[in-house]
Symmetry: C2
Subunit: 410 residues, 2 copies
Amino acid sequence: MPEFFNVLPPSEAFNVVRKNVVVRAVPETIATDEALGRVTASEVLSPEVLPAFPRSTMDGYSVRARDTFGASEGMPAYLEVVGKVSMGKAVDVSLSTGQTAEAYTGGGLAQGADAVVMVEHTQVVNETTIEVTRSVAPGENVVQVGEDVSERDSILPAGQILRPQDIGGLMALGITEIDVFRRPRVAIVSTGDELVPPTEKPGPGIIRDINTFTISSLVTQAGGIPIPQGLVADVFEAQREAAVAGIAEADILVFSAGSSVSSRDMTADVIEMLGEPGVLVHGISIRPGKPSIVGVIDGKPVFGLPGNPVSAMVVFGLLVRPTIYLLSGCAEPPRPATIRARLVRDIASQTGREDHVPVKLSMTDGVQQADPVFGKSNLIYTLVRSDGMVTVPIDDGGLYAGDEVSVRLY
Amino acid sequence: MPEFFNVLPPSEAFNVVRKNVVVRAVPETIATDEALGRVTASEVLSPEVLPAFPRSTMDGYSVRARDTFGASEGMPAYLEVVGKVSMGKAVDVSLSTGQTAEAYTGGGLAQGADAVVMVEHTQVVNETTIEVTRSVAPGENVVQVGEDVSERDSILPAGQILRPQDIGGLMALGITEIDVFRRPRVAIVSTGDELVPPTEKPGPGIIRDINTFTISSLVTQAGGIPIPQGLVADVFEAQREAAVAGIAEADILVFSAGSSVSSRDMTADVIEMLGEPGVLVHGISIRPGKPSIVGVIDGKPVFGLPGNPVSAMVVFGLLVRPTIYLLSGCAEPPRPATIRARLVRDIASQTGREDHVPVKLSMTDGVQQADPVFGKSNLIYTLVRSDGMVTVPIDDGGLYAGDEVSVRLY
């Protein structure tokens, strides 16, 4: 029986990727309003101060705060109303001692004012006079110039995935274009004599290709661009040609199937032929997904994923997804959504192996339950019928019914 | 001081939406490989059985299981090798008692075989004979016909968001087109005399529009199609026209700003003019975001969000996002990613009000910490500088430093 070349725990397998790939993230300039989910290519400094003028946070009256000191319901301060600062207009009112001007939420303050009294704490006496029934401190109900952002402030680090509020924050400063990294291109070579495209009706012994589409979707979710290379027969030269073409036009090359050690499994040999250093890991101490390959060719990562759909998805999540984020220039990949749940049945494992088990979620008596779906790893509907996965840590012999577990949702 | 019309807790405000909107989700047929993230419009039944032939899960030999009964290392069973079942080929080998044929992972079994012996449990004696050193039960190492899916099985319910494995599962059955609901269209009317587009340099008293872009991004994230209606001045007739145009071409209408109760806040009046039943909620018992509006016009939801960016994002998450999923025909919106963290500082609140506070995450001594960012809700960088939000439940007076909290990541 042939042996695996170099079996590593999953975390060490990813470290091999990290140490050996060359991150060639290329920046491009795009419109900020199309940059949601993209990764900043450089630190962004503010070109301006925000806000650029002191703004009222309330409807009311801008005042010189000391004119209100001591004011109360019983002993209000009387102020002369000398005008108002309209929304969206330049300030053309100036206050002397004992004077005030109307102010609006988000609008400016009169010249000389340093605080705003909420309209609720005032009373109109006549057209030119109000009572103020509560004192305000200097700065109260005011956003100061630069309170949000100072000029030259670092507003976004390099390597950040842009969120809705980041898009808004950039727009607030007039930054309508932004440098982001190009999305990594992931070539997918799906191998196997038994495969036909899903549009075809399979003959005897034939099945439709699944993994091209599952893997392409996973690549898209991780912010990459999938580049399917089509179906390739179990013929060495055909696979080598597809791999050469794939690695030439992509940043990452993924093989589906052919990653084990039987005579028909030629992915490892193909990777070895592509260049240096070639195969670095063959075999990962997980179930499902043990017969996986990590290689590097001229600084580009190459993965051999098992053909079984469940195994492919597990190994994608452990190795390919973080590699896409790494090559995206992303400093910190987003955390997956998880949920705590109570395990309904035991999950057997063995120490030295990390198990990943699909689970179906349900609520019973107000308790979130996770029921393991023990389908074979070559059944795609094991994944379709489940809501997420539970991990049995590498040092554990299993999990028990009743254990509280963290379910990674998908 | 004018009063809010009808202040409700956030959960009740969404119930008002649910009870009063008419879900008009319209199905459309699209290519399955472009359906990631879309919502199924109807239950999908399997047109075929999967797998269509018994498949080996291992490399080895297909056998009649009873020929191996009692086999062991010490007393192996001897079987005659009469051929092999090649990958992707029709089965042209048939077994009689005492015979076997080579089998490959994912390939078929010889006629008459009911199990597979792993290659590890065999020994080649000569060209036509193997030793089997372990017995197998009927069905062992075999995926039976229909074990993944039977014909007419329900494989996906209506209202499910399609995941990578669902795309793969559909392709496995040759379902290359699928009925999904159209994505809801969300018209966004951004109001305020003080606003200019981000491409412009603001003059005195003027600021750049932020909310059109933040809200558009949030709509996109929730699977909707944002339709910005441009900037509209604080002029009743202009806002009414923009609203009429927006509600005509969209499924949801969102106003940014103008949702409070001062004389300049005209969103509620505009919504009342649009049709029946008009404004149903004015004021929500949250901070920030109290001055929010929920209305319904001819079955379509209309929201008035506060102009403050933080408030707008909070209210979007509580009301607009679930409404987009509701109108998507989505049975169960995806859960947000959350993380447990220890609160670094007290958060003051008051009972009867639900507070939403941005927090910055950090690790200290291996403990995940959440530090509240108490910026004013009109500062967009309060959101840019934070990693997620913590909710103070409506019945709590606050949270304390050291409390373990759940942070909704964004």
